[in-house]
């Protein structure tokens, strides 16, 4: 089945009390002419009448394939299979996870399950964060950190409850973990639905947004760079460094080169890297320029799972540079940098 005809699935995550249910209620009650099937963990919190609200149990199990971090959501496999019997009765699916959930098994379900892949596609991981309490949760709750690291879209909610410096502080903490997610500041989760739905964040054809979000033009964020010390590295040509914010163990690492990569060295290196360090790497993405190849190669991954494909021809005048991003915990930066360097074709 073509990608476009698959049902998009949005994963809605966020720590307890951040406002997931508020966002969900907004999505369901807004007049958008679309019908959503919603997979929730607690019945009754949603005040909207919808016969396609299904209770889930967040049952995570390991695949018997020798890969320890290869966990999937068994209940999701079952529910999606059942929902497909009502194809045509809804346009998209939203999966709400509990506040303590790790988004990885949900995402991995879409990488490993053949039947799920046939009918549905993961659209984006949307994380709702509480502007007042997130900084504290990032210190004491590894789940909250995972949810920020994993996100494609972050809805920074309850911004009315914090001062400007507090808001800058929490944004800096988020950016120290995940500079790539789209960040929206909201009160009571007032966000345009097009900013959270139909994002295509896992669509290989749309892996364009691997620039840090806050470097983009038209950014209206009021960044206060004075109080934190990491270097945003606006220069082109050399990669972004690990962004340390105090004792943050979750980081992003970006690599870049304008020299071509040797596919015969790069692919085994990448596969080995995720096999060895996959438990630490939450998300990875890349756009690659291989020597002797006129096509852009794109890949993305979740822990040890990778998918990649030739995307399109490099355009005339488009700089043929390779860019990679890893988001993870205690990433061995120097080993990754050295390994990447060794895949560059020497001149």
């Amino acid at each position: 089945m073509a990608e476009a005809s698959k049902i998009p699935v949005t994963v809605l995550t966020g720590y307890l009390g951040a406002g997931k249910t508020t966002l969900l209620n907004r999505i369901l009650s807004e007049n958008h002419g679309k019908k959503y099937a919603v997979i929730v963990n607690e019945f009754g919190e949603i005040g909207i009448d919808n016969d396609l609200i299904i209770g889930a149990d967040e049952e995570v199990f390991e695949m018997n394939n020798g890969c320890v971090c290869c966990t999937v959501r068994g209940d999701l496999v079952r529910i999606l299979d059942g929902l497909m019997k009502r194809k045509g009765k809804f346009d998209a699916i939203i999966v709400e996870t509990t506040g303590l959930a790790d988004p990885a098994p949900v995402a991995q379900t879409f990488f490993v399950d053949e039947d799920v892949q046939k009918n549905a596609r993961l659209d984006a991981v949307v994380t709702v964060a509480d502007a007042k309490w997130l900084s504290d949760r990032l210190k004491d709750a590894p789940e909250a950190k995972n949810q920020i690291a994993f996100a494609d879209v972050i809805v920074l909610n309850k911004t009315d409850l914090v001062s400007k410096p507090e808001l800058a502080e929490v944004e800096a903490r988020i950016r120290a973990i995940n500079p790539y997610a789209k960040l929206h500041r909201t009160e009571r989760c007032k966000v345009k639905l097009s900013d959270v739905l139909e994002r295509g964040a896992f669509d290989l054809d749309r892996i364009l947004d691997i620039e840090p979000d806050f470097l983009e033009a038209g950014d209206d964020h009021d960044h206060d760079h004075d109080h934190h010390h990491h270097d945003h590295d606006h220069g082109q040509g050399h990669g972004h460094g690990l962004k340390h914010y105090h004792d943050e163990d979750m980081q992003s690492l970006s690599l870049r080169t304008d020299r071509p990569l040797d596919p015969n060295r790069f692919m085994p290196w990448l596969q080995n890297l995720v096999a060895v360090e996959g438990q630490k790497i939450l998300r990875s993405k890349g756009i690659l320029a291989f020597s002797g190849d006129d096509d852009r190669y794109v890949f993305q991954g979740v822990h040890m799972m990778l998918e990649g494909d030739h995307q399109r021809k490099w355009k005339d005048g488009e700089p043929r540079e390779s860019r990679l991003v890893f988001i993870g915990r205690e990433l061995p930066e120097q080993i990754i940098r050295d390994g990447f360097e060794s895949c560059i074709v020497s001149l």
């Binding site: 018997n64 496999v77 079952r78 019997k85």
Partner: protein, 339 residues
């Protein structure tokens, strides 16, 4: 393999396609069963379509939503739905409500006992109602993947993550647990009550010899096994999931342990459904490319029942006498073959 592409007309294969009575159901079908001599095609949503040997269609509304599970013993077809209802349909077309989940949670699985008892599951809980109407429930550690009654006694196999629980609803004794890591989705007893086999989330079956809980690993499938059928007398378990029908031998006391399965009817498509003839050593196999073949177990001789088309075969069933074969693809293009 990819270069091999048989044409729609194969001179070498016998065909009965001209004897099939086509039935246009016009709605997605998930399974078919025989209630006496009418075929009952279970729709993906809401209704069951009865079709007689003449091809006349009569639709009966059974659920107000998706139909998630269906089993049939020839006299009653029992179905669970995403409306939280468990209903029974008889050969006359009468619908009887059997159970309603108070929270309208999905009824995921159902099983029938020959004495009239039935079982169903909602989430982690399996329920049994005996022939006398007495209801009992049992909770397993994770969501129920499949249910099956043993052919003898009053024992229910409940498949879930990391194994199968054997529950004796009428005994005070503790349930028995057969452990095997992974997610177990479907479960069947062998007709002689000696073996238990599950379909797993990964492309494999797992089995236990019940006398000593010895494990039987049945692997090598390229895709998940969704359909299993015992051959007449229980000598073989025929399965879908590969580009041939995989037949595991169960005639000896060791079952398939240490033996290779037989592989019948290879095609450049995945087997999606299997249905063994109730009396003779033949089976019907439906494929992901729409083809349906009848296959003789002894020598693998094939007869073409339906030519390939764009839609996978979703449903196959024989009537109890083995004189009628009913089939449907996922979109409801169906047919009946009288032998």
């Amino acid at each position: 393999m990819s270069a091999f592409e048989p044409g729609p007309e194969q001179a070498s294969i016998a065909s009965v396609t001209d004897r099939v009575r086509p039935v246009a159901l016009g709605a997605p079908v998930t399974s078919v069963h025989f209630l006496v001599d009418r075929a009952a095609f279970v729709g993906a949503e809401e209704s069951v379509a009865f079709v007689d040997a003449q091809g006349d269609i009569a639709k009966v509304a059974v659920h107000s939503g998706g139909v998630l599970c269906a089993v049939c013993d020839g006299e009653r077809l029992v179905m669970g739905g995403d409306d939280g209802k468990l209903v029974a349909l008889d050969a006359k077309g009468k619908v009887t409500p059997l159970a309603l989940d108070p929270k309208r949670r999905w009824i995921d699985n159902v099983a029938l006992h020959p004495d009239g008892a039935y079982a169903w599951s909602v989430g982690k809980t399996a329920f049994v109602r005996s022939a006398k109407g007495e209801e009992k429930s049992f909770e397993v550690p994770s969501t129920v993947g499949g249910l099956a009654f043993a052919p003898k006694g009053f024992r229910l196999a409940v498949a879930h993550y990391n194994g199968v629980t054997l529950w004796f609803p009428n005994m005070a004794a503790n349930a028995e647990f057969l452990e095997w890591a992974g997610s177990h989705l479907g479960v069947v007893f062998s007709p002689d009550n000696k073996f238990l086999v599950t379909t797993m989330h990964e492309p494999a079956l797992h089995g236990w010899r019940l006398a000593d809980s010895r494990h039987m690993r049945m692997t090598g499938y390229p895709g998940r096994v969704r359909s299993m059928s015992w051959s007449a007398g229980g000598k073989f378990l025929a399965t879908s999931g590969a580009d041939t029908v995989i037949m595991w031998p169960f005639a000896s006391k060791d079952g398939p342990m240490g033996k290779e399965p037989a592989m019948l009817a290879p095609l450049p498509a995945r087997v999606s459904v299997v249905a063994c003839h109730p009396k003779q050593d033949i089976l019907a196999a439906g494929y992901s490319d729409g083809t349906i073949l009848m296959v003789r177990l002894e020598d693998g001789a094939e007869i073409l029942v339906r030519r390939r088309g764009p839609v996978p075969v979703a449903a196959l069933a024989w009537n109890a006498k083995g004189t009628l074969l009913a089939f449907a693809d996922e979109e409801g293009d169906a047919g009946m073959l009288e032998l």
